[in-house]
């Protein structure tokens, strides 16, 4: 299903080769971030001063582990989209822009893999 007219789909597809989906995706992920951020804050509050075993046991709970993983994916996705906009706004040299966009992808991907790996390690250990 699409909420866009055929003209709207092709309008503005200049040198960027894409249009509104980046903008829309940023909003959709932002919306997901609202409840997930509240969950994250509660999770962290619940583990103030906790030792490693307590944290690992909580993360090992299927629901908590899944929510944590979804939270981090949503946050990192939003970060990647947002930083892309910042880079495109301020960096105009093609080489510098391409390099920074590449670093943006690498940074968010590495953090995502590290976080999911940590969550899975604790899930399977408990």
């Amino acid at each position: 299903m699409t909420m866009r007219t055929p003209l709207g789909k092709v309008r503005g597809l200049g040198s960027a080769k894409s249009g509104a989906e980046h903008w829309l995706l940023e909003r959709v992920v932002a919306l997901a971030n609202l409840p997930l951020n509240i969950f994250l804050v509660i999770f962290i509050l619940g583990h103030l001063g906790a030792d490693r075993a307590m944290v690992a046991a909580s993360v090992g709970h299927p629901v908590v582990g899944a929510l944590l993983a979804v939270s981090l994916i949503a946050i990192l996705w939003h970060m990647k989209l947002g930083m892309r906009t910042i880079i495109e706004d301020y960096v105009h040299g093609p080489t510098a822009k391409f390099t920074l966009l590449l670093l943006n992808s690498a940074y968010t991907l590495i953090l995502g893999v590290a976080a999911i790996s940590a969550i899975l390690t604790m899930s399977f250990a408990s």
Binding site: R27, L34, N37, D51, R52, I86
Partner: protein, 135 residues
Amino acid sequence: MGIMAETKPAARPLSPHLQIYRPMLTMMMSIMHRITGGALYFGVLLLVWWLSAAAFSGSQFNQAQSVFGHWLGMIVLAGFTWALIHHTLGGIRHLIWDTGRGFDPGMIEWMARANLAGSIILTIALWVVAWGMLQ
């Protein structure tokens, strides 16, 4: 070559940028939304470090906990908390605008003030709760 080749860049006035405008709250809040977003981009590194340390080993986790428990670490975490709440409230403001609502001047000004006040009040409230839980 004809007349076309002789075009020189005209000394036209450029479009006005930040320095030409009187600073306004809504403008500052827009800038803060981007700055807090950028800060959170790197702040998330702390969350991933904490999770990885918990997965890795007890000594790694204790090291992370001692950094976050240090007063310097807590100042950074307090800044992180404020940036997260400020950016989240700013995000709600943007989502309201995206539905086409909240554009009248009074509402824009009210939302900017509510965003700023709300972020400070909620940050303090969260830390008071956290402090109470640790005692």
